[in-house]
Symmetry: C2
Amino acid sequence: MRNFKEKPKVVIIGGGFGGLEAAKRLGNKPFEVILIDRKNHHTFQPLLYQVATAVLSPGEIASPIRRILHRYKNIEVILGEVTDFDLNRKAVKINACPESDDNRCEIFFDYLIVAAGAKHSYFGHEDWEELAPGLKTLEDALEIRRRLLFVFELAEREALLTGIQKPISFAIIGGGPTGVELAGAVAGIARRALAKDFKLIDTTKARVMLFEGASRILSSFDETLSQKAKKQLEDLGVEVYLNSFVKAVERGRILVNDEWIECSAVLWATGVSASPLGKKLGAPTDKVGRVLVNPDLSIPDHKNVFVIGDMAFVKMDNGNPVPGVAPAAIQMAQTVAENIIRDQKGKERKVFKYVDKGSMATIGRNKAIAEIGRIKLSGLIAWLTWLFVHLIFLIGFRNKVSVMIEWIWAYFTRERSARLITGDAEELLKTFASRQNLPTAKR
Amino acid sequence: MRNFKEKPKVVIIGGGFGGLEAAKRLGNKPFEVILIDRKNHHTFQPLLYQVATAVLSPGEIASPIRRILHRYKNIEVILGEVTDFDLNRKAVKINACPESDDNRCEIFFDYLIVAAGAKHSYFGHEDWEELAPGLKTLEDALEIRRRLLFVFELAEREALLTGIQKPISFAIIGGGPTGVELAGAVAGIARRALAKDFKLIDTTKARVMLFEGASRILSSFDETLSQKAKKQLEDLGVEVYLNSFVKAVERGRILVNDEWIECSAVLWATGVSASPLGKKLGAPTDKVGRVLVNPDLSIPDHKNVFVIGDMAFVKMDNGNPVPGVAPAAIQMAQTVAENIIRDQKGKERKVFKYVDKGSMATIGRNKAIAEIGRIKLSGLIAWLTWLFVHLIFLIGFRNKVSVMIEWIWAYFTRERSARLITGDAEELLKTFASRQNLPTAKR
């Protein structure tokens, strides 16, 4: 039986944009807040592609969650993975418990906010993930960086050993903001940053191909901006293929519509699949696993359980779902925190309403597009806006300064400062050598 | 048959201090130089302990070898692992070849410089490595960082779940410069950087123990400096145990002399074992695998094959071997490069002579020792000297600036900016939970 003199206990799952915002809104308020995350750090996902393309280092876009929230005395941060729920007992189960006694693996709550995010989906072909990694975590970004840089190293070595320069080509699958950003940045690496450092191969001849199933890239933007973005990508040397469906991914090649295309590395930037925790809540979900929440963001039958961010399915007035972007997660967190506070005051809950503050995508040096209400920007002005907004929202003063210096450095030197291949190089050498050659061996 | 009009081909194995220096000395000279390394980057090993203790990020102490050498048109850099030699055929074998044809796995040389370094040795107990990682590569540093930070996270979680704060203790094995630097930095993390961020546990109560088998730490320094260093460590809260031999390492505990001591994490900073490539050269080696080289640093029977750096055993005038430090490797590289140039000019080769320019070890904030000839420094002045020298020798202007900013930031805020636990957190959670508890379970 709950002691009503105790402060209500709010458990938040996930230290992304939504989870952090909810915690901050409840910080130093009369609640006992526990935030649980699988990582010890918050990752600023909008800049992950810059880690993947060796512009920034992991530490520059990530901060320990504990650090971000340390000034709130009522917030406890716990590293752990939530495995299941017992909503009737108001309990969250976490893995890897210190003792075998099962009860100790549970954390009890009065309110639960589930903000565990989403990852890429491979449309039922999860085996493609190894061949075509997506970009959701720092580890993903480092894996992509490793592969990108390794392709050039391998080609240089082959050129030395065999005298032949094999063609290099990169395939980026998905023409949304992440795919566009990756394509532009990969082209920049090949054409600028690496060109002088390789002596036997001509890195500027590397092909960068972007495949989009729809009839235009960045389809969430206005059509004129899509066209401008395509033009800007092409100026950077990216080959943009529209109406192009990837039907198979194999080692060293992909099947696009009906044509096999050889690729040295494949990056996946399409499809979304909400955290499997959504289904474990027992609430109805849509086909990508997002929970169909009530207008106040609680779930059916459990008024004290909320789902926010990429895990929540909420319709806007125009019938479309609220997009899976950081501002939406933050706004949902604000609504939920306010509703919890209102509950305690005996006030009626608010209904969530998404305010679209605009969207942006960057393409490369001096190149970007932005759509803010009716204002449509492209080129330098959009790029500067993009830089400014991302610096402002990046968490931590230290990171802001560091990223700004990196950007200034990269702009003037055209270098990439984080060009490290880490991990087990022996393994990588073996795996990649065989990977690269399989398509050849097949013929 | 070699065409004498061709430039002589010099193959260098290893992109550490020795290999890089040799390459630079032969850069833009009438040689064809190929540098082979398992990594794409040079690691500035003297600052690795700062990556392990979350002060610096990997990218700040590493630079792509290709980038460092890109201005020398006659130097080719190849990512690859050397597996064997055929010295009579003047060939180096590398792994993971692009084609199955074995000949293509060989790189031929006129001169060979082997500078593949050393790693930690576990005195025949290589199985201890997993339990007590050493510090030689960026991957090692990240593994140590992961474990250090994880110990605190786990303790906080246990405190939440069970209400009990388990004691936290770190054991650092080996009282040489690396062990001393690690011990000081770990104490700094526990006592300063993390203290405010953990709410349930008192991180300042974490024990940091340094075990040294000899009767004093930093035994390569003057005895008065050893004593000062010990005092400085103790001021930081480190427990220094002398005449203490580690006889066994198990999960969660170590056997020191005859006493089992519980440890949350164990770091290994003693013992050295030269690269196994030394033995493959067929030359005589000492008991840690260092090659007994001729006075000109070539190996017996092969005047065109040189071994330098941590892999070479050379006696100084006082009978002691040249220490395995960066300045020695650099000086050897200079001698070898000069000898190769002399060969081409028909001049007699030089004999290697080590010039000791002094040595330093840092202990913590404002704390260090330095011995330069007869000058002995300790405290703030030694610390400033240490900072200055390391900034000067750190490779890359970009890295110098970045590290300087990090140090200034860390000094004034007492924060650690690179406190990320990366890697598979699920795996880590499972492994660590069981690791931590085994000693308890045994009773």
